[in-house]
Symmetry: C2
Subunit: 240 residues, 2 copies
DNA sequence: GCGCTGCCTTGATCCATGTCAAGACGAACC
DNA sequence: GGTTCGTCTTGACATGGATCAAGGCAGCGC
């Protein structure tokens, strides 16, 4: 990471928006205080790289706010986004000092960082943090495998619908999901294409088709209204 | 798991073929003895399911011998193999009693099993096993993300070459890799197709094309000779 | 206003891969 | 030997999504 410590951010963990979902979620008071003492914030502007593949990385971090992408690139420049990182998601790998993929900030990003070595020492002693990390990692593995099903088996339309439902799940409270729902897409058409294993044109066309079919409304290209989420989800009933 | 304990298997951990790669690889003598005392073997015949999605699973296990696949299936029956499990690979998830995907035995399988609860207790105390588990899980996550690049970006030919090279890496010693290499494909054409996000016909055609191009020889459908691995790998130089 | 620039949409066409269909091959068995 | 069965290969054709190309539209600086 090339960015310097952010001085203008003085969030208190108690009021942290990701307090109950991030790596610290299950900590007791003592462990929580230790994390609190170790943490420091970093801000990364939209568009900038957080880490590049193979680059040295001696921090781990949770996303406090903003959106980032994980991606891999072929030698000749084809790119696959392998993950969309939203608030509470975890970055970095204890026990390894370099990174296997590119991470870049899609929007302005606030990270809650820990230097890797002290963090490794802490998880040796703090069992709830350690368990939480293992659990988060297994969850990511399950998510990655589900995405493999999407990439390998689903049609373009199904991919788009899956993506929209993913955003709904991450940004709308379950109890609000039976009314018309408005979402802001965290990714550009280009990034969506790369995440879904499609081209930008196909993404655009399928969005238009869903609009013509009355399943979504496009307030702007990025702002989507879903009149009936269950009807949209029903598009997947032949799939996952 | 519906299978009963296998009585005819009395392997000693000291001579276990996966001793230095599996979950026990980094254990000191004391931890090793505890694992040794807890373990029991199971045999599963080729073609049988090890676990089905959603099924209760209160063991974790390492593969001692044989090949298994991890897979997910859409409601209407499209299947994606999300992982190929080879000797030393780990099955199960500490902290959760059910499984998110189907696991099935491709060949006859020998598993080294641990009941989940005692295993969970053990990793709380045995730091080397715990670290190894975290490391294995992160490795699987990296592998899954690499596979996403394959599924999303590569051409059929590149997918096949990647798969062949994967098998070479897992079954041939690096120092033998500059001579002609013979490999036995662990998967049928159908399973390869499902793993690579292709159809069986496309797999077959691309294998034939690689043969016509002199990059591989097919002794039988399953037995492949690669006269020059570097030439085969060069097929990927535009890709990963 | 004007002309950028970046992002998105739409249309026309192409092609890699899927689909459908027919055999080929080998193993197991009688 | 012949038959059957499962797996693999090959061919002919269809099509979903890629590619190529043009244009729309909003934001921004001048």
């Amino acid at each position: 990471m090339k960015i310097s410590r952010s001085e203008d951010l003085r969030l208190d963990c108690q009021h942290c928006p990701v307090r109950h979902r991030a790596i610290c979620a299950a900590s007791d008071d003592e462990e929580f205080d230790k994390l609190n003492a170790m943490k420091f914030y970093k801000s990364i502007p939209a568009g900038q790289a957080v880490v590049l593949r193979g680059e040295k990385l001696d921090v781990v971090a949770s996303i406090v706010s903003g959106v980032a992408t994980l991606s891999k690139t072929t030698v000749d420049g084809r790119m696959q986004i392998t993950g969309m990182l939203l608030p509470s998601d975890f970055i970095g790998r204890p026990g390894r000092d370099s990174c296997e993929h590119d991470i870049s900030a899609v929007t302005d990003l606030t990270l809650c960082c820990f230097r890797r070595r002290p963090f490794e020492d802490l998880i040796e002693r703090a069992s709830s943090i350690r368990k939480r990390l293992l659990d988060i990692t297994f969850d990511e593995l399950d998510a990655a495998r589900n995405w493999m099903l999407l990439l390998g088996c689903l049609t373009a339309r199904e991919k788009i619908v899956s993506f929209l439902m993913l955003v709904v799940r991450r940004s709308v409270l379950p109890e609000d999901a039976d009314q018309p729902v408005q979402i802001d897409l965290p990714l550009s058409r280009e990034a969506m294409a790369s995440y879904l294993g499609l081209t930008i044109e196909t993404v655009s066309r399928q969005m238009s088709r869903l609009r013509k079919d009355g399943l979504i409304e496009l307030e702007t290209a990025r702002r989507v209204i879903i009149p009936d989420t269950s009807r949209l989800e029903a598009e997947l009933e032949n799939a996952d």
